[in-house]
């Protein structure tokens, strides 16, 4: 996919990078504006992220700060004990109402850091201390950016030459190419079409995502399925049961590496921004319970929602592949 950006802000120091030229070559019609530092645009106070979402801008920058971070405790670690994420881009060209990025950032504009080699250098420092589990598509969807940026394939190449690195690339996109390698995991987030149509704007349909999953499996890639977050909608039992039918029928689950299941949860601090970004969305206006700093569905509701998917997957023989978020 090749997103349209009305404006592209370019840090002066980013201009000399090859990736900058590559990206700009896709956008001859966009207005280009030179900037000193990406934070001058990205971090402006009180931006109207809902309005920006209708006309996103792209920011090309050099990250001279920290590049790899510890993931929050609420994130599924897939039994790895601890995992890290790399912030080689921030924000997403998709527009999911419930996305934590809308809560974390006060803007819908997308940043791509063009100095990827510096990320690899920092990664190598971590690898000196032992194996590293790294999510490279955490604060963004690199698959969705692959039409304009080469970062997904650069990360794949880097992982291929560093066997101690386990790389997770999470996406909702219809990525065309995957790499078959033991240490690269393609994590596909799947949702019922009712949820996609209502809350996951600009993302591919379930059929397209399933086709992408099957292409990846046929290519011999490591595939993770993420039924996370499950989003509450009216008639969710019917909706998620139909969804489970489709997944079980259309995907060879035996070939899937593992499956993550979890209901929507978000830091209480982010919910305010999220509601500002999507002021009419029932996905974020739901009257959540507050538990230990996180907004969650009421316990009975989340147990019922989880139960539908978990039971169906267990009955389909996938019990040993399930990672269930509480």
């Amino acid at each position: 996919m090749c997103a349209a950006f009305s404006h592209i802000y370019i840090e002066e120091r980013a201009r000399s990078y090859e990736e900058t030229s590559r990206i700009l070559s896709h956008f001859s019609d966009s207005t280009k504006i030179s900037i000193r530092h990406y934070k001058d645009v990205f971090n402006r106070p009180s931006q109207d992220s809902a309005l920006q979402n209708e006309s996103k801008s792209l920011i090309l920058a050099v990250n001279d700060g920290r590049k790899i971070f510890d993931a929050a405790p609420v994130c599924q670690d897939f039994g790895m004990g601890k995992f890290y994420y790399a912030e080689s881009a921030m924000n997403c060209v998709f527009s999911c109402d419930y996305c934590f990025l809308k809560g974390m950032y006060g803007t819908s504009n997308v940043v791509i850091f063009v100095n990827i080699e510096d990320y690899f250098e920092e990664c190598e420092k971590y690898l000196k201390d032992g194996p590293l589990y790294l999510c490279a598509s955490f604060d963004t969807d690199l698959g969705a950016l692959s039409g304009i940026s080469s970062w997904q394939s650069k990360w794949e190449d880097f992982a291929s030459s560093h066997p101690d690195l386990t790389l997770e690339l999470r996406t909702k996109s219809a990525i065309c190419e995957v790499k078959s390698a033991d240490n690269i995991i393609y994590a596909f987030t799947l949702s019922p079409d009712e949820v996609i149509r209502r809350y996951e704007k600009k993302t591919p349909s379930l059929d397209v995502r399933i086709r992408t999953v099957n292409n990846a499996l046929n290519s011999g890639a490591n595939v993770r399925l993420c039924f996370d977050p499950l989003i509450y909608i009216k008639d969710y039992e019917l909706c998620y049961n139909r969804f489970a039918d489709k997944i079980i029928n259309d995907i060879d689950l035996k070939s899937v590496r593992d499956i993550s299941v979890g209901t929507f949860r978000i830091s209480s601090d982010y919910l305010h921004n999220l509601r500002r970004a999507c002021p009419g969305s029932s996905a974020v206006l739901f009257p959540f319970d507050r538990e230990e700093g996180y907004c969650v569905y009421p316990k009975d509701l989340r147990e019922k929602m989880m139960g539908i998917i978990v039971n169906r997957l267990e009955n389909a023989g996938c019990g040993n592949k399930l990672y269930v978020n509480p």
Binding site: I33, R36, D40, Q52, K234, S281, P287, L301
Partner: protein, 234 residues
Amino acid sequence: MVSDDLEIILTGIGKVNAAFACGRMFPMGLTRNDLKADIVINIGTCGARDLSGLFIVNKITDEATGRDFYPDIIRVSGVPEASLVTVDEVKTDPDPGVLYEMEASAIYQALSKLISPDRMIFLKVVSDSGDVNGITTEYVNDLIKSHLPEIKRIISSVREGTGKEASISNDDLYERLYASTSMRVHIDELIRYASSLGIDGRKLFAEAGIDEVSSRASGKEVITRVRGILTHLH
């Protein structure tokens, strides 16, 4: 005030005058939230070496401080964009491709405390190329007049794209439910959620027994009942 929803303020020349005018524009004590539906359009002339016509500004540099500011160009389309430098004295040797004037950076800085970057729109008409001799009031008036149709079009399109948010007061519910501050937050949250589902939340409160409420405790029970209905709609 030229109409119920449009006010014109003359800033005068230079950053101090511009900042002072911004200060007069909004009474003391107003917050960003109070002004969330307001839009400020700065219209003025500027110098440029090789540009002519009307521009919308996408970058403002304050020459004295070196600071840059970026109005968000979302609400206006179809107008040529340019970057602008705010100077303290007339720029007699302008760089190519850049607009020069004497107020924008001060206006942006003064208003950014209250107005979001998409709601500050800077429209500049090129009046000269650095030589201001012979620039008279009449000339400037005629120049702006010649661009009035376009300026009016921009103001109209900006107006169409905005508007005060209609808000319904829940004060009567607060009173009837003996609501504390936190209960009020819950009431508002439930009504907004109901609205997002196309349900009349206030009607739900009526159906959940608001007429029987005689204390804060029974008010809380009604809120709990409404919440139960809304979170288990299946």
